[in-house]
């Protein structure tokens, strides 16, 4: 009898220590059982303002309600973000230069896009403003306008597969700056055929960049 009581006391102490440790560290503890499934409890940090803690509680209520429901897989991924690994036939080319995967769930749209970080570069390599992208020579070319860390206006050029679902690494052509070009950052203003018109802030002329030859011209 005494041994049983001691055993119970030990279990109680262990439970208190475990719960205390977990609560102090803000960790989830498997505590709520519902049928054969569980939802760990997870509390907002004690030093959070009430308005934030309320939001976390609402998220947790939604999560804990899931323990009463059977586990089901998500719906099949939309086409274009499928598990397909092999190749396939020609991609559909929509009006306006949009290349899509087998549905409109993934795609590439040619033209000028207002993205500052539209390529595989970091802020220590290049600072973007906007970009042009489109098909060139069987690949999808991206000309990101912006500036170099040294403060010169330029473009960062790379190409990728025309298949929006391709995981192939992009091929980086590198940074191009015009000889005696301006300081600051370029922005793409117009695209006419193979030629982009770029300008930098302040007074000064426009610059033209050929997306096939990757050269600036006057």
């Amino acid at each position: 009898m005494r041994n049983i009581a001691r055993g119970r006391a030990r279990i109680a102490v262990a439970a208190i220590v475990l719960a205390g440790t977990a609560t102090g560290a803000g960790l989830g503890v498997p505590a709520v059982m519902a049928g054969t499934r569980s939802a760990p409890r997870s509390a907002a940090p004690r030093d959070w303002p009430a308005a934030k803690a309320d939001r976390m509680r609402a998220e947790n209520r939604l999560r804990e309600a899931a323990a009463r429901r059977p586990l089901r897989p998500p719906p099949a991924p939309p086409a274009g973000q499928s598990s397909r690994k092999g190749g396939r036939g020609p991609l559909p080319q929509a009006a306006g230069g949009t290349v899509t995967a087998s549905s409109s769930q993934a795609g590439l749209t040619s033209g000028i896009v207002g993205l500052a970080a539209g390529g595989p570069f970091g802020p220590s390599q290049f600072s973007g403003t906007n970009l042009w992208n489109g098909p060139v020579g069987g690949r999808w070319e991206v000309v990101q306008a912006g500036g170099t860390p040294s403060g010169r206006a330029g473009v960062f050029v790379y190409s990728r597969s025309q298949d929006p679902a391709s995981g192939e690494a992009p091929r980086v052509a590198g940074i191009r700056v015009p000889p005696s070009g301006p300081e600051g950052r370029f922005a793409v203003r117009r695209a006419d055929g193979d030629v982009l018109t770029l300008s930098a802030p302040g007074p000064g002329r426009a610059y033209r960049f050929n997306v096939v030859t990757l050269r600036f011209s006057r």
Partner: protein, 319 residues
């Protein structure tokens, strides 16, 4: 029976006293080990539902082996101006909102299916890059986050908590546009109109003061200022922060360690909501690895009198 009860009382008392001593100690004096580093992901054009499911399962196994909860951001890139999806990070490939939702749900399912014993906080992230960051787009993102949360609950993912995230950066766009994205503007009602989920800011504080403790000049880049950064990372009710701690001034880059510590110190001195309680430092493993990011950020926070214990450690990668 009596001895057992007495032993229990002693243990409880000792435990309580120990806890009181630990809690009473200033945070910077504690030896707090870095939590396990969770991987967050720039979603890539080659990623599939199967990829996400595998990543979720790996996270569940990781959490079980480390006996710790986790925090994972999925970065889906900038929203398209028409609101029909996102440009995946560092690319011009777009996914529809349905594709983004599906990917997040597959990661949640992968986590749930692999016998987790902890909670994964899964944050669906976008950023404020792009020509149009406004209330309409914020509302669409809030709706997406809410849809993922409801679907996860309806499908029985009881170990996955879903929230929103945004890589808010001065270099991407103006604060006025970002504020409109979250709180609404003439174009739409904003993130908060569609969800009550928390919003994790995992951005940078471009151009903010880099000398520790020097916040007399509150200006940051592109018209943002330190109070703006404070609101984005903590001051507004839905917001919390996993700040970019990628650089400490290395290779001529900004000292993000000091910039974010200063934002928290500003809050402690001037805002009634006080210092920022960061969720985790986020690193990329280039200049600072996860250990250095954690160590340097903790030290800077302590030196800036805003010492704290962060619950997680995060690293952003492209798979």
């Amino acid at each position: 029976m009596g001895k057992a009860r007495k032993a229990l009382e002693i243990c409880v008392f000792t435990g309580t006293a120990l806890a009181a001593v630990i809690l009473a100690k200033p945070a910077h004096a504690q030896i707090v080990p870095k939590p396990p580093t969770d991987l967050s992901y720039y979603v890539h054009s080659g990623d599939t539902g199967a990829t996400a499911q595998k990543l979720g399962c790996e996270q569940a196994n990781f959490d079980n082996s480390r006996n710790h909860a986790s925090f994972v951001i999925l970065d889906f890139g900038a929203q398209r101006p028409n609101g029909k999806g996102t440009y995946l990070p560092g690319s011009t490939v777009f996914w529809s909102n349905a594709a983004d939702e599906s990917y997040a749900l597959h990661l949640a399912y992968g986590y749930e299916e692999c016998g987790p014993r902890h909670v994964l906080i899964l944050a669906a992230g976008t950023n404020n890059d792009g020509a149009a960051t406004n209330g309409a787009l914020g509302g669409i993102w809030g709706g997406l986050v809410q849809a993922v949360a409801r679907q996860a609950s309806a499908r029985g993912y009881s170990h996955v908590s879903v929230q929103g995230a945004v890589d808010a950066e001065p270099g991407f766009g103006s604060f006025r546009h970002f504020k409109g994205w979250e709180w609404g503007d003439r174009s739409g009602r904003g993130y908060v109109s569609r969800t009550t989920a928390l919003l994790d800011d995992y951005g940078s504080a471009d151009g903010c003061p880099q000398a520790l403790g020097r916040i007399a000049n509150l200006k940051c880049g592109n018209g943002w200022n330190v109070p703006d950064e404070y609101n984005a990372v903590w001051g507004w009710p839905p917001n919390e922060g996993t700040p970019e701690i990628y650089f400490d001034g290395c290779h001529g880059s900004a000292n993000q360690v000091n910039q974010w510590a200063n934002v928290s110190a500003y809050g402690r001195r001037y805002q009634h909501k006080g210092m920022v309680r960061f969720v985790a430092p986020l690193n990329q493993g280039n200049c600072l690895n996860s250990g250095a990011s954690w160590r340097e950020f903790r030290a800077a926070l302590a030196r800036d009198s805003v010492a704290q214990v962060m619950r997680f450690s995060s690293q952003m990668i492209t798979r």
